[in-house]
């Protein structure tokens, strides 16, 4: 088994790539000739193969006694001087869980898309992108070195861009795609700089340890880094410890990809893409890349408590911040998007307090219930004929019972109602936060849990209960019907998982064994502190109670007294507006960046045209000034040479008159001025 993985593990990546390739190249032809079925089948089959292989990997890892780490080295990618990078894939408990989630949820979403995308003219394109995404995500997760990981990192960004603007005909989608791409690129730049500094720092460390020849050493591979991480001790960059700077740079990358403050703005807009995409990329998998990266590099982050603190704080603040916004949104997908941001904040909180396995646990459960919620929302949207505003919904429960049931389970799970999955994972993060002594962050997390329960209930109630508020002519009630089986089946499966997955990580305090943490312990080590069982019981109870309160207040406000929220909103109008408009962060950014960039661009494009004139005019101005002085001097002192001074003034005046610029000679002028500056500088110094 292990040898199989070692030899053929790379096949896991080959299948989706093949699928993407075939659909991308021949899809148009197949669609015209044979219809949609072969395309969907091909796409699903390729992901299914990967899923099977993922299970094989999982089993192989469970078998293995020693080390729990299998490396599949496909080929030496590059061996240039002192840089070596292999196309090698790392299979360990962490990556095996990730690939199970990616291929498993991915497979369900592929199946769901069969129904969802039916009749779309870009059917083959959609599946090609989706397969390409699976490939990139697997590359990101399985990469054995930073270099390869970065390629996957860029790849998922690219696919996300392609898929957000999938319906490119609408301007809004295209803009959203661009926004996602650009914001992500900002993060990526940080990530790339982080990699470079890491590379540099390890090289410095090796040199300090007496190893100058790094030829053939794959120094960016995780194995090498983990083993030699102590090399970074004492390496400094601009006065700060290199580890901290590297971690912060990498974290900037993570905030971009995982939509954390301050780079979260792209995610809500990304909901413009098709709903399966939102479920797969913008909820379950890609956005968790940042969390995964931190987990993968936990040994590096462990060296910088400062960076960890910043990560925890950012996570907690993001969680609360996004949850408040979620309370005042009306677009069903936007609410889910903000909830995703909020839950990602949880995961970062977990990572920041070194509760890595808890963070990854939440990542997994979140993938299940959030995918379920998104797919449920998609089902509702399709049922309501592309209506996304929850104010125009209501009463859908009667028409779509399966969707409702699945949605309800997932919603209870995310709200943290025991014994559903979300409860255990969230609770574990909160408990670890408390245990690590960050009590304020714990409180933030708790408040977020309450808010989450509240706005999720609001969403559920407004969508599924009450009377249908849709205008009759747009979506007549009688037309709403349950989605086809290909769409409900994934919903059911995901709902089951979001209900039951929690028992994998049942904490010991509750009589469980926490298999999850045990399984991950080769990667993260065992973090079992002294047991405070009574404390843990109390906190667990607290979070459950908060969740229940949240749900009840949600039910109270939106089901029992539906007129109340509007009244309250009216009373606290300014605050409500602030939240409703998402704290005006988008406007702020667009003011700072977009208009700022616009101005800068305008100035800089004028640079080419005007800089030479500017130089010319400046010297003209100086000359005129001199001429004035001479003029004044002339009139006062020497009467005889007035004429010449006037002549100079005249020259300067004529000079200031806007003459036609001869471009060519202005070019040469620039050249000569540069020459003069260079020579003058060298002659003086």
């Amino acid at each position: 088994m292990q040898e199989f993985v070692m030899k053929y593990g790379f096949l896991l990546l080959v299948f989706p790539l093949l699928g993407a390739f075939l659909n991308g190249i021949f899809g148009r032809y197949i669609l015209r000739r044979y219809g949609e079925a072969p395309i969907g089948l091909l796409a699903c089959a390729s992901v299914f193969m990967s899923f099977v292989l993922s299970i094989a990997v999982f089993l192989a890892l469970n078998d293995s006694e020693n080390g729990s780490r299998i490396i599949c080295n496909a080929y030496t990618w590059l061996n240039a001087g002192n840089l070596r990078a292999d196309a090698a894939f790392l299979f360990d408990p962490l990556s095996s869980i990730m690939i199970l989630v990616v291929t498993g949820v991915g497979l369900l979403i592929h199946i769901y898309s069969l129904g969802y995308m039916k009749g779309d003219s870009g059917y083959y394109r959609f599946f090609a992108y989706l397969n390409l995404f699976i490939f990139s995500m697997l590359l990101l997760v399985l990469a054995d070195n930073m270099f390869l990981m970065f390629i996957g990192w860029e790849g998922v960004g690219l696919c996300s861009y392609l898929l957000i603007s999938f319906w490119y005909t609408e301007k809004e989608n295209a803009i959203a795609g661009n926004k996602a791409f650009i914001v992500n690129r900002i993060g990526d730049a940080g990530f790339l700089i982080g990699i470079f500094i890491l590379f540099w720092a390890v090289r410095q460390g090796l040199a300090a340890a007496g190893t100058f020849d790094t030829e053939g050493l794959s120094i960016l591979s995780f194995q090498f880094l983990e083993k030699n991480i102590s090399l970074l001790n004492g390496i400094e960059l601009y006065g700060a410890s290199a580890a901290t700077i590297i971690c912060l740079c990498l974290f900037i990358g993570a905030t971009g990809k995982s939509a954390q403050i301050p780079l979260y703005v792209w995610l809500p807009d990304a909901m413009a893409g098709p709903t399966p995409v939102s479920a797969l990329i913008h909820a379950a998998t890609m956005v968790t890349a940042g969390v995964y990266m931190i987990g993968r590099l936990n040994f590096l982050f462990a060296m910088s408590p400062l960076a960890l603190g910043i990560i925890a704080a950012t996570g907690a603040v993001t969680a609360l911040f996004a949850a408040t916004i979620g309370c005042a949104q009306f677009d069903i997908k936007k609410i889910l998007a903000y909830s995703t941001i909020s839950q990602l904040g949880y995961m970062f909180l977990g990572m920041g307090v070194s509760a890595y396995s808890a963070g990854i646990f939440h990542l997994m459960t979140h993938a299940f219930f959030k995918a379920c919620l998104f797919l449920g929302a998609g089902s509702v949207i399709i049922g309501m004929h592309h209506e996304q505003d929850i104010r125009n919904m209501g009463g859908v429960r009667k028409y779509m019972p399966v969707t409702f049931a699945a949605f309800l389970i997932a919603m209870l799970s995310i709200s943290g109602i025991p014994p559903l999955a979300g409860f255990f994972s969230k609770d574990e993060i909160l408990w670890k936060t408390w245990e690590s002594g960050h009590h304020i962050l714990w409180l933030t997390g708790l408040a977020t849990a309450g808010l989450t329960a509240f706005y999720m209930t609001r969403l559920l109630v407004l969508t599924f209960f009450g009377k249908n508020r849709g205008s009759k002519k747009d979506c007549a009630v009688h037309k709403i019907k349950e989605s086809p089986f290909s769409m409900t089946m994934p919903l059911i499966v995901l709902a089951l998982f979001s209900a039951a997955a929690g028992f994998l990580g049942l904490p010991e305090a509750l009589g469980g064994f926490n298999r999850f943490e045990f399984f991950l312990s080769p990667v993260f080590g065992s973090h079992r502190g002294a047991s405070h069982e009574s404390m843990e019981y109390m906190l667990t109870a607290a979070s459950a109670i908060v969740a229940v309160i949240g749900i009840f207040s949600g039910v109270f406000f939106y089901l029992v007294k539906p007129e109340l929220p509007a009244r309250i909103a009216k009373k606290i109008r300014p605050i409500y507006n602030l939240i409703y408009n998402k704290y005006f962060i988008d406007e702020l950014y667009s003011f700072i960046f977009v208009s700022g960039t616009g101005i800068i661009t305008a100035v800089l494009s004028a640079f080419d045209r005007y800089v030479i004139d500017l130089t010319v005019n400046l010297s003209g101005y100086i000359l005129r000034l001199m001429a004035h002085i001479i003029d004044w001097f002339d009139r006062r002192a020497v009467d005889g040479i007035v004429n010449s001074a006037a002549g100079i003034t005249l020259i300067a005046g004529a000079y200031l008159r806007k003459a036609q610029t001869g471009r060519l000679q202005a070019y040469v002028m620039l050249l000569i001025i540069a020459l003069a500056i260079g020579v003058f500088y060298k002659a003086i110094f």
Partner: protein, 503 residues
Amino acid sequence: MGNLESIRYFAPEGFLSVFIITFLIAGLLRRKTFSKSSFSCIAGTAGLFLTLILELCINTGYPDAIVIFSGMLKLDALSHLFKILCISSSILLFLFSYSSRETSDSLKEPMEYALLILSCTLGMMLLVSSSNLLMMYLSLEFLSLTAYMLTGFTDKNEKASEAAMKYLLYGGAASGIMAYGLSLLYGITGSLDYSGIHRFIAENNSGIILYISMIFIFTGLGFKIAAFPFHAWCPDVYEGALTPFTAFLSVGPKAAGFAVIIRFFYQIFTVRGEGDVLTVLGSADWPAMLAIISALTMTFGNLAALRQKNIKRLLAYSSIAHAGYMLMAAASLTILGIVSVFFYLSVYFLMNFGAFLVVIAVSNEFNSDEIEDYEGLAWKNSKGAFLASMFAVFLFSLIGTPPFAGFIGKFYLLLSILQPENPIYWLAVVAVINIIISLYYYARILKTMFLSRRQKGTALSGFERGQYLQYSLMAGLALFSIIFGIYWSPLNNISMLLENFIH
């Protein structure tokens, strides 16, 4: 090595010279045959192919550099690799000219056109291997003069003669300044040979005059690669010249220019010490100069490209920016720097020629080079989709997105300035910022092509039988841009030949 023994090693250039003369005589005798543009193009391509084969056969593998013609030329890995690059770009120029309607319509004298291209190639080949100031200056002028004439070589396009005139006057000024700098360098060292100058500088302290002569000389070299204060001719000439020639100009002569820069600075002003650490020889800190110019060049090129409306102009500014990136590696004072310049140039060869080929194909259709004519190109018909997706590959590669070759190239360049022996962090930061800026204008083209269904410009014709050369060239370049992004070891191994370029 004396003149007679050298001829053996001079076979490619010698063959090309003889070919040029034969071509001329045959062309004069058989005026009619040669006035068909297809015949001239094919004959010229054949000549270049033979030259390329000779180059590959005769000068393979350089355990030691060979100095021929009493020190005029030096044959080593640098000259070998860059010669191959230059000859290939000339071959592509022929093929492009053949497939461009703009060229074939406007060329009344294909024989002379072919002759000038061949001469231009000869100039480049001599330029990259010359190791004597006189030879270098002569072949630089050879290249420049033929380039001026080729720029103005059309009578349809009224911009061409203006562009050629500007090119000539600017180039004349730059080369005059360079000649003055060469005279100063000769005055200091009393020698024209690179080796002689190297020896003199190693033994004597020559003061600031050395730096000043270097600044003057760099004017001419910077003009050739369009580095920042000497870049200004570039956009005008690129816009005015025939598009195939513009494509050539942005790759071939630029590669030759880089070869000269590397040879000039690394062969004369550098010593290789223990552990392959390079150090500057003499009083002039040229890496700092190159680093500053590189930062300015890339920043300027990228910023100026942001608001361009003409695709050729945009690519001109982008090529200025790319020259900046490559200059960065040249300034790194490491062996990896030299290697990565060549690596990047060969990648750049693929993606830039590819991008220009798409521009040629589109302007064949619309007779225009404005970016707005690309609107909705991807959705017009299957040919539009093909052109747009090819363009997308080249643009992504130019941006430096994985898995395209441009990414690897940029990675090498960045790696080279972060080498522990001589790291320049600020330049790396500037470069990364620049790469991000460049994203904007490339993405704008992509957006125009893909994200808009509004179709501007006239309708596209379908695939034409006569243009299959063009399509297959395009697909080949795109294929290699992707292959080298995933599996670049071959290219890497070839570039690594440059490791022993400095002894």
